[in-house]
Each structure stands twice: as structure tokens, then as C-alpha cells.
């Protein structure tokens, strides 16, 4: 069996959720890997856009930030925030946003702002950036998280970005026209959200992981009754990811 590190399996897991023709709104970090791997393997017609205004760059080299010159090279159009954030929310297109966060709750609401009281936080994070905008307006959102009890919490310290709010049809009632979290990709597996209740459940778990490990690392009750094993990364997926997409291991980190 092929050997891989957590970030590799996360990038591949997320990449598989991208369909050909999707417009992918990528952030920094693993999401750029996922989008690039998908484009090179099974979704060549997918388009990657960045909130900064880089529309469909060639991504010959991996950008380290969404403002990197590498998101401005070989693009279809170089624009700005207003244009990019318009495209993310455009009703005509199926757009998939990739986000990370410091905390997530059972309905996929995200905190990327602070731990502790907002006015005198224990820890301050960068803030929304375009995350709240993307989760407010994109057709679907995929969230990357490290899976532990501190991050998968009963109650967020601060709600930066709107997921399924309080579940059920609360998101629609609030005024959102579409979207919401589609999946959460962690170092343990793939979580999805129930069609009716919008509560998070375990959909797939990686080799070497048990559903009980997911339960043990989640602060809220998470349904594991629908969980199936994740199909391990193929040699081809790993080769493209590690040799073509991030050969310097800028985002992947140290190898096995």
C-alpha cells in the first residue's frame, strides 16, 4: 500500500469532491493542492478562482498566498476583490468554496476570528477575509479542519462564517439564497451533513482510523452509522500531488 502523510490524504479526499466544470474558490494551504490535483486528474474542466481576483491561473508553481504573483500568471482575467467575490456568488455558476477554520460546530458554522471573548480574546486569528462571503454566497463549501475536540466544538467562541446556522431550514429563512457546507475534510476522514437536520455525520474514514476515533475527537455527538472506509489514495494521485503540484513540499510538509 502506498505511504502518505495526513495532508496528502486530505488534499486527495477534497480533490475527489470537485466535479468537472465546477468553479472552485480556493484559499491558501491544502485547498490549493486539492484544486490543483483535481484539475490534473479528473476535473480538467474545473476552474480555480481566487478571492483576490485571479481567475483561472495556470498554477505552474504553487501560490503561497491568494495574493501571490503565481495566482496572476496565465490567468483568463486578472481582476480584483469585487469581481472575484461577484463570481463566487453568481447564481448562474456552480461554485465550490474551500475554507479552513479554527473551530466548527455540528452545523458547519465556522470560527476564524478568535478564541475567548471577542473584545479581549485569548487568541486572535486573522478573521474572515473572504471566508464569510464565500460561505454566504457560494453553491457549496468544503471545510478543512484538524480533527480534535478543541476544534469540533459544541459552541463556537465567535461565528465568523454562516454554515447551516441552527440546522433544518434556518439558513434559507435567514435570507441566504443557496449554499452551505457540503463536507468537512479532516485528518481522520470525510464528514457530511444530513439532508434534513443539517447535522454533521461521518461519511468516510481513512485507513487506520476507526469511527470511534472520530467520536472521541468530536465534542458534539456525531452520527457514524452511515460511515464507510475511504478508498485509499492511488499511486497516480500521490505522484501528481507530491511530484507535480507541491514538489518543494511547501504546504505538504515533511514526507513520510
Amino acid at each position: 500500500m502506498a505511504k502518505y502523510v495526513q495532508r496528502e490524504i486530505m488534499a486527495i479526499c477534497a480533490g475527489r469532491l470537485i466535479e468537472d466544470g465546477n468553479i472552485v474558490f480556493a484559499g491558501t494551504g491544502i485547498s490549493m493542492l486539492a484544486a490543483t490535483v483535481a484539475k490534473r486528474i479528473h476535473a480538467p474542466g474545473s476552474v480555480v478562482i481566487f478571492e483576490t481576483g485571479g481567475i483561472d491561473p495556470s498554477l505552474d508553481e504553487l501560490p503561497l498566498s491568494v495574493a501571490d504573483g503565481r495566482v496572476m500568471a496565465g490567468t483568463s482575467v486578472n481582476s480584483g476583490l469585487a469581481d472575484a467575490l461577484t463570481l463566487v456568488g453568481h447564481p448562474r455558476f456552480r461554485t465550490i468554496a474551500f475554507l479552513g477554520a479554527a473551530q466548527i460546530d455540528r452545523y458547519g458554522n465556522l470560527n476564524s476570528t478568535c478564541i475567548g471573548n471577542y473584545h479581549s480574546p485569548k487568541i486572535r486569528f486573522p478573521g474572515s477575509g473572504g471566508a464569510c462571503d464565500a460561505l454566504s454566497t457560494a453553491s457549496a463549501t468544503i471545510v478543512f479542519m484538524a480533527h480534535d475536540k478543541k476544534r469540533f466544538v459544541e459552541a463556537l467562541d465567535y461565528r465568523t462564517s454562516p454554515g447551516w446556522l441552527t440546522g433544518g431550514d434556518s439558513r434559507k429563512k435567514a435570507g441566504f439564497k443557496r449554499g452551505g457546507p457540503l463536507a468537512v475534510v479532516t485528518d481522520l476522514g470525510l464528514m457530511k451533513f444530513d439532508d434534513e437536520t443539517k447535522a454533521m455525520y461521518l461519511a468516510e474514514y481513512y485507513p487506520g482510523v476507526t469511527p470511534q476515533m472520530v467520536v472521541d475527537n468530536t465534542s458534539f455527538n456525531i452520527d457514524t452509522s452511515r460511515a464507510v472506509p475511504f478508498v485509499p489514495p492511488t499511486d497516480e494521485e500521490l505522484r501528481i500531488l507530491t511530484q507535480e503540484v507541491d514538489p518543494q513540499r511547501l504546504i505538504l510538509g515533511p514526507p513520510v
Binding site: L64, D68, G69, G80, L81, I123, G129, L250
Partner: protein, 326 residues
Amino acid sequence: MDVQAKMKNNGKIMNLSEAASLVKDGDQVTLGGFTSSRNPMALVREIIRQGRKELYLVAHSHGQDLDLLIGAGCVKRVEIAYGAVARFAPTAIRFRKAVCAGQIEVEDYTNLQMTLRFMAGAMGLPFIPTISGLETDIVKIPGFPEESRGMGKVSKYKLKIIKNPWDEEDGNVVLLPPLNPDVALLHAQYAGEDGTIRIKGLTFADLEEAKAANKVIVSCEEILPTAYLRQDPDQNSLPHFLVDAVVQAPFGAHPTSCLYFYDYDPRHLALYRKMASDDAGFQRYLDEWVYPFDTQEQYLTKVGMEDLLRIKANPVLGYKPGLDRR
């Protein structure tokens, strides 16, 4: 020459010191660029040297410029969507420390919200709607203290939520206050002698910021003859009359990038990260990299030819291919 007199004469081209002196204590300031790209660093370093105080930053996603201004004690209050410099500072270091220590007032918005607010300011609108942020703490929790509300440039309300007036059953809408900052500080690749600005690559929210601001100061890599810029006006970004001051500052965004001129400087950003992580180290950074220089040329001498050439961009690609960014 007296700076004000120079401006009356339409002499927009000035040096760093003259341009920075147009920023006053307490001004509401917006910064061009985005996290690791085209930060107006030469202007920011000069503003720090001039000891500007109590600035009120209105920012979307900012990193190095914002972090240096906050760390140097120039900032009282910030409206912000995101403070970071890629993986060199996953949260902007001095920003994080200042917020946790309660040294600055901070109020969070989103990138789209901030961009819309600049657009509203530029258009003279009383407010601008969005659905972004509904039911989040961004719309529920104001950041600034109650006593600041309605004072100076602080909006009376952070924002307001109303029912969709077209269909009250169709949920809510967020109304955002406009922004008209006192000053916009931008770094561009090119400026004409008359103030026409040409930005290459992504414009982020620079154009909206410049149109919203009451005063626009632009540093640039090269000042070009106006007639040359007018031969290809499709390439130009801002008309001359919007711009009040132009400063030639080569590598003026260093250590952030400037497309077609240079990449971000991974070694300098890593050095900054290390030094800024404790108070004494940050003071040493200011003493070594900000205070000793009167001009951009002196700063570049300190950076050194080897490091500048290491990040020099490929003129076709716009960045430095193969740059060691670990």
C-alpha cells in the same frame, strides 16, 4: 519646497518624506495591496519614522504594512477583514498581540463588505446592501466601544439588518456604512508624471479605495512620461486627477511582492516573523530596518544586492520561478 505649494502647482511628484507628511495624526487611512502583495511599505516605513499617531486603519486583507504600523504604535483603531502574511504569519504578529493586549480598537468585517463600503463611499451612497454575513457574529457584535460611535469617522452603527424590502418573507439584508478615508496609500508598478496610475496584475480593492479616499498617495516602481501611458490607455487603472502625490520608490513594496518587478522576499518575511514574535525583537527590527534610513535607496542598501536579485521577477511570468520559498 513647501509641500502644499507644490501640490497647488500640480507638482504631484515628491519624495517619500514629503508624501508621508500628507498623512496627519488621527487620519483614517486605507492601504492598497493584499497580504503579501504590493503593500505600500516604503511609505509605511516613512510614516513610522515621522512618528504618526492614532491612525485609524480601514483594511480588507492586510499583512506586512498593517502589522508594522500597529507594532510601531502608530495605530489607534482598525476595521479589518483579515490580518496575515501567507504562511509567514498565519495571523499578523503585532496585530494579534495588540488585539489580545487591548492596545487597539478593532472591528471585523469581511473582504466583500469592506470592498462594498469603499464602493459606497466612492459613489456617495448612504449605505450598501449585501447578504454576506447574515446571522454571524460579524453582524451581531460591534467591536468599537460605544463611546466611539458616531465620533469622527466612526460610523454611528457598525451595520444594520433589515428585512428584504422587496419581499419581507425572503429573509434579511445587511446594510453597510460607506467609507471615505482621509488617505489611501497605494503602491503601483507605474505612475505618469501627471498622476495617471497603471497597476499590473490583480488590483485587489485598490481602485475602490482610491476612488473613496479624500487624498491618494501612490508610490511606484517607475514614473513614466504621461504621453507614453496615454498611448495604451486600456492598461491604465486610475485617472490622474484622483491622485495627489506620486513617489518613485523602487522595490517600494519590499518585502511584499510587486508583479513583474519582484517576488515577495521569503527570507526577509521569515526574519520578520522571528523578530516580531517578541517585543524586544520587534524593537530591534524597527531599529535595524525602519528608523536608520531617510530614503528608500538607503533601505535597499541594507537589504543588499544579493537578496534583491534573488527575488527579481521574471519579466514574462511576473514572479521569480524556482524561488526557494521554504
